[in-house]
Point group: D2
Chain length 352, copies 4
């Protein structure tokens, strides 16, 4: 069905399996004349890539992006930007044990059922390695919207929650620790917790919070393509995501209207922002903020039952190099998808 | 930008303002030869319409659907199904007070900013009245997929939560009370709470849970158009929705992999279903279930400050006939959007 | 597949069968704030409607458009414009003879094969009556682009060709005769020819030429959505169209490069315009002109063999009220589709 | 606007400039399990590539395709197929003379106007080199539809026309001569003519005819996405195309209904086929045939006036290695675009 494209005017299409020749994508609709900061793209790629700290997977993948088109003399030309990220460190032998086996809570089984067979190496297309292409597209989208500030950070690791409202956090500290939690005290506890989980051969989930500032009023296209609906879809399309809420979110469902309504200031801003920067699906100029829930990584270093393609239940122990907790590396992916959504609505809104 | 269409093969486009001539829509891509049960469509419309019980708005709107095309001798022809729902009970004078005023936590301000002016009567296009068209399209989608069972119900009203897992509920009781909560005890408490809130001139939010059963394996189109990502977008596009989670949802983010993984039975089903019926964005044949958070209705019968279009803050008291709690009427809307998403992926999956 | 929508940002979706309740459509993405001239819309509808002269079908259909949404106080609001055109003069009995019969060179057979059954009355969805909705959408698109001048006219009727280049024609004379040919002498001969054909109980094809002036430089989105490619698709989607050529067209294929190249003037305009106002799929500011070939109407008042749904060949004589030559009524349809294409590209081009 | 994608379910997106790092594309939606014949892909690429005979451009480009994803153990996996075609023989210095100059009847001027600047080397994105990616996507589409036979051939070179109806031609002779005209006598005259044109430093246009056989009944999605409308758009999106006609085409506009109607045989086939295999936008099982007109290549080896970006008219002589006549190399491109259109409608039709 061609489910590998995102966006209408800023349109990202990706390809690539975990252990194929290369990942890559095409960004179609990027406006011409943007002087690209390639270093900034590399920085976001480095934030996503494996092996960057002791609490993430120890795979080493250079994740070097090669741009093949759409850029001339350092500037975007308005034509499609093709890019590839060669796969250089595939240890496909790590995966021969899953050739005929379906790992629990992985996509192995459904891919075989839907497509009839699958590239089983490293999860193939269902691997989170695919998100590398999204980070490229998001990094360029960020440069398209230099006014808009997108900051994501880890706000929960398993049962450990950072309760401080985002307004009281110093986003410049997000990159100061491997957890990507801007509160250093919480970050230390989270890091300790992840190390402990890893020792158990286990994994744990977490939550990424994202704050978008300086968004102009007017982005979003009701009634179906509401800004928060697209943000939700974009986040839910990231591997391992189980939930999305913006503004008051689920806790807003417990509130009364008299508490929840955001009263206006004369300039159109609001005194509170339980709405989360979006009204009726359209940005209102206040900060947009949302939370994204990630489940624990399914591959654990303990023995669990799996199913083989003949209907036998067989014990299996995780192999390969996997993350004990995915949220630190998910931070740049959340930012990237947010940037892609905003870039698309930004272009659409120019037509009014 | 043309944000008023949903779906690729089962494609729904809606039009209509709260106080215009009519609402309506076009369902394009509905397969031919479906013998329509018009009564079933009326039933879903009646579940959504105002005035059906003491705890919802007392507006009287007949919400009669007129089908104009795409149906011949009671069967769908495969050509687009055009339909209208005439607006018959508009009291536009109720809204003259908001002509130049922006109500807090309504879309009045952003519509004026984005479009330059707005049809202010009853919220115009941003009114939840628009969802009537979705219910029509969803009711037909349900008939397209007679095997699949979609049941939504109210699981929270404000701080009152139904904690019983859905497996222990009797869905046939959902329609037995005006709250649409299948647990009669909880329903009674919720109803009482809503009555109380209404007396206060206030409103309250809530949560709708939706369970989808008998879904074939294979629906969903990774990597962007994952089944849960589209369900999330579809739900978040409904008025007043603030959050979406499926399967283990936000609570899954607190769990360990060893607890969260769903182990297989030999037939491919799983012993647990924290995954919520979807793996890697593709249905796995287990029950799909998700929760949708609704904020409290913004219009309250208390006096609150509003903003006028000259920058003055002026007190305003809600007029018109509004719901104290939106979730009972949201139940058929959640089902309708779920059905539309499934119908689309069902058709797409036929191409494999 | 949902093939009833056209356009990305200015997006038109239509519905309706020849003998159903109503035709209609939704225009999504029309910019807000356009003060609509409803009379101009009526004028285009009147140019398309049956019964307007002695050389077209004598059916009487009022073709009155009712706008249901998206317009407030006479201006577009930026929300979807829903409209219907009630069917008031259906003589369905005229068509009982084709219930089980496939007329030659009609779509009866393929609709039955593709959809399993069909609304046989008047051709159902395959009737050119559907184009009434296009004329509505095109008339609004024209008002969105007041600078751009779109003039279509009949340049051939059967073997009778108007050879005069469009530059030497007076477009104000197009409506001065029932053929819609701006050259009065040719018009008279064409009209005479059509009258003669009708007397024979026969029909004849023709060609419509369309000239678009004052198009800004830059419309069109290579490489697939080239301006002339979309114009071509739009024209070929009109009933009975068999060919499309723009600029030098088929005759350009016989020329040498040294003859065909359009040399520049210092201001970027060109001395000749064999390119037809489009280079590389993008408008270059020169006049756009193209020709659209229509086949003869398939329903003739002579006896011809038809096929019934049991495989028998049976003689059939055309009934109903049909056009002896379709091109005079096709003129406003060609203009409408051209306007829809331009409106879409115009909005897209605003994003650069 | 993201105009670089084609198709809904079989969706092709391309990237690449004439003198960038590489061309390439993504085929999304190709069904899983197709055992690819890579040699057949190479054959089509070789038919398109420069330097294959004395009558086409003498540039040497290996045009080797590298597949990067979506294929496992020689079979398609149902995930997106990414591929690149590295540019290896760019002589960018050949183009320094057009850095600030707009060649007549090229896209240089409109690209500068639309995008603000351009990659001027070899025409950048507007170069027909882009069609190499289409040939890859088309070659795979052909393998998806092994029953359907697509044969294109040159039917005109400048004023020299092959008048023989396609039914009397032997398609196996198309590749027997460098012109790709299956009639050897005509081919020889055409070849002689092209050699002569080349000696003059001139170029000439031509016509490609395409015949598609064994198409199942039912492909095409009215009312806008009619089969011939998409074929027309696909053809018109190819560089240098000026016109498209199918079935009786422009000559059909001169005919009477009594002559033009295709009478049925009892099995649903027709005695004649002026309809060109399509009724009402849907394939009827008869042969589909259409003609595509190409203008002469704009770059000629004679001196012509060009415009520079300061508004000066300056004489310029064509450099580089260009085709004197583009139609022999256009044959596989026409086939490729036809195959892409058919593959998309084939998948869509499976949903009925």
């Amino acid at each position: 069905m061609a489910g590998n494209s995102y966006g209408t005017l800023y349109k990202v299409t990706t390809f690539g399996e975990s252990h194929g020749e290369a990942l890559g994508g095409i960004i179609d609709g990027c406006p011409p004349g943007i002087q690209l900061d390639f270093e900034a793209i590399e920085v976001d790629m480095a934030r996503r890539k494996p092996g960057q700290s002791a609490i993430v997977t120890q795979r080493k993948e250079p994740d070097a992006v090669q741009f093949l088109s759409g850029i001339f003399e350092g500037k975007t030309t308005g034509t499609p930007i093709g890019f590839i990220i060669p796969n250089t460190n595939q240890k496909s032998d790590d995966y021969s044990h899953i050739k005929d086996n379906y790992r629990p809570s992985h996509a192995d089984y459904v891919y075989d059922q839907k497509y009839g067979f699958r590239d089983y190496r490293g999860g193939g297309r269902s691997s989170a390695r695919e998100t590398a292409s999204r980070v490229v597209a998001g990094a360029i989208a960020k440069q398209m919207l230099p006014e808009i500030k997108i900051n994501a950070y880890v706000s929960s690791v398993g049962p450990i929650h950072l309760e401080t409202p985002y307004q009281e956090l110093d986003f410049s500290k997000i990159e100061s620790n491997p957890v990507r939690c801007p509160d250093e005290k919480s970050a230390a506890i989270m890091e300790e917790y992840i190390r402990d989980i890893r020792k158990q051969g286990d994994t744990v989930g977490g939550v990424v919070t994202c704050v978008i500032q300086n968004v102009p009023v007017g982005l979003g296209e009701p009634v179906f393509d509401k800004l928060h609906a697209e943000l939700g879809k974009a986040m839910l399309s990231i591997n391992a995501v189980k939930g999305f809420e913006y503004g008051s979110g689920f806790s807003g469902s417990e509130m009364k209207g008299s508490e929840h309504n955001d009263l206006y200031n004369p300039d159109g801003s609001t005194k509170t922002n339980l709405s989360g920067g979006i009204q009726g699906g359209i940005s209102n100029g206040m900060d947009i903020y949302f939370r994204v829930a990630f489940k624990p990584v399914a591959t654990i270093m303990q023995t669990q039952d799996s199913l083989d393609n003949k209907g036998n239940i067989t014990p299996m122990t995780g192999k390969g190099r996997h993350d004990p907790c995915v949220v630190p590396r998910a931070v740049p992916i959340v930012e990237a998808m947010a940037a892609i959504v905003l870039a698309d609505f930004y272009l659409i809104n120019k037509t009014y």
